[in-house]
Symmetry: C2
Subunit: 261 residues, 2 copies
């Protein structure tokens, strides 16, 4: 059975870095499809080596798009798709996700022999197209990327509200460290408060920038590094995870209290 | 003529801090109305001393809301409103802004004897309700808050796309420093690239946290400080600004080039 995972988190928190590196880890032994659902359209850059044409942009040029117009093969045969977003100020920012999901369904991309599908989804607002991987039959498990910072945890709590509303399954919280004091403990307490768990901790590392500059993942550029090992471990723990919860988000007073305490 | 200003920027960049402090600066000699258009609903906390009831939440309880249900007087008689946002996963995150604008119009709040109206608007996505202060007859001038970081400038460039699309007037870029190397220069070059200017630079300061913890602005808690002076200067430069441009946003390749260069 295909493992269908959605990764959510505040913009800039590190979703694409984590998604591309765990996809690279899975690619050793599995058929993987990565679908970028962030208007930034840069989830797959380090897997493909370049920015992909987005589904939205392809459909502006071609009325009948084929699989080869929107699905591209990257590192170790990871399949890559970027939804894209409309021009700012023109309709719903999440429209690209809706259009991409419909097209991939129509082109029967989802019925391929895939072991893992990973959605990388903008989490600053949980609405419109950005709620689609949660609400419709696209992803079975959700993981939230956060750091110990207020803004990241606020967004994580908001995403928990969305998951609960849309009856999704929260598999766990991924701590992508920013170097905050006591960061791992703060994130563990947050996970406990929302009735989930920390499924992985990824340290801050220069190797991320060094590989990113060459449009590569850490796994490709520095396969022997400790950082690559952290991503492999996370990939493994997510793959074998069987504990899911409906999160118990904090209301605003509880959240402020939690952060001050 | 009432000065009607919208402040946009990436979530967490410092909009509310800047909006509340320049409102406090204006309050000396002017009638000011501050309208929070961020689902976080915390723009006015340091002006009122507490979190305000949001328009959306008030309308859940009362079908006929009055001015006193949604407009609250804070520091130095600054009038405060919070739009609020719907529960994540339930409809458009910008719905609170639309509902609040309609209610304030109906209650004739805008026809009051106001010198300055300031909108604090989420800028991670420029769509739905978040585009309303740009597209409809609510604000005449837009200012974008950014730092020297990639994510903040990416969002600023996106907001420029929205302003251009919706034919808004960009008054300038406000640099809220994060302590990045060469930050002011990076932001000046960005402003030049999009055919705008830097209208103010606000240093990073502990006084922000120290006053925020007491739900006060820097102007209220530390009126004699250098930081308060920076906010007063910005308020002054914005108030007297008469140069507006339709921004010239960068496309994605130009933006990547700009940031690498
Ligand atoms: N563990 C890490 N260590 C160092 N830098 C990181 C790490 N994770 C992410 N980054 C950096 O943070 C920035 C944002 O990461 P990204 O994955 O693009 O975020 P998102 O997809 O959530 O917007 C990138 O420039 C990336 O290089
Ligand atoms: N100039 C500054 N110096 C230090 N901290 C700041 C400064 N401006 C903002 N902050 C901090 O950054 C955080 C986010 O600021 P805020 O104004 O709430 O952002 P936004 O309204 O854009 O989401 C706040 O915790 C605030 O204390
Ligand atoms: S639903 Fe969300 S993404 Fe769509 S227009 Fe509204 S705020 Fe924007
Ligand atoms: Mg990303
Ligand atoms: Mg704010």
């Amino acid at each position: 059975k295909t493992k269908r995972i959605a990764i959510y988190g505040k913009g800039g928190i590190g979703k694409s870095t984590i998604v591309s590196n765990i996809a690279a880890a899975y690619s050793q032994d599995h058929n993987v499809l990565v679908i970028g659902c962030d208007p930034k359209a840069d989830t797959t850059r380090t897997l493909y080596g370049n920015r992909l044409p987005t589904v939205l942009n392809v459909l502006k040029e071609k009325r009948q798009a084929t699989v080869d117009d929107v699905v591209f093969e990257g590192y170790n045969q990871v399949m890559c798709v970027e939804s894209g977003g409309p021009e700012p100020g023109v309709g719903c920012a999440g429209r690209g996700v809706i259009v991409a999901m419909n097209l991939l369904e129509k082109l029967e991309v989802f019925s391929e022999d895939l072991d893992v599908i990973i959605y990388d989804v903008l989490g600053d607002v949980v609405c419109g197209g950005f709620a689609v991987p949660l609400r419709e039959d696209f992803a079975d498990e959700v993981y939230i990327v956060t750091s110990g910072e207020y803004m990241a945890l606020y967004a994580a709590n908001n995403i928990c509200k969305g998951i609960k509303k849309l009856k999704g399954n929260l598999g766990g919280i991924i701590c992508n460290c920013k170097g905050i004091e006591n960061e791992e403990e703060i994130v563990r307490q947050f996970a406990q408060q929302v009735e989930s768990k920390v499924i992985g901790v990824i340290p801050r590392s220069e190797l991320v920038q060094k590989s990113e500059i060459e449009a590569k993942t850490v796994l490709e550029k520095f396969p022997e590094s400790k950082q690559a090992e952290f991503y492999r471990k996370l990939a493994d723990d997510v793959f074998h995870n069987e504990e899911f919860t409906v999160p118990h988000p904090m209301d605003i007073e509880e959240f402020e209290e939690f952060f001050r305490g």
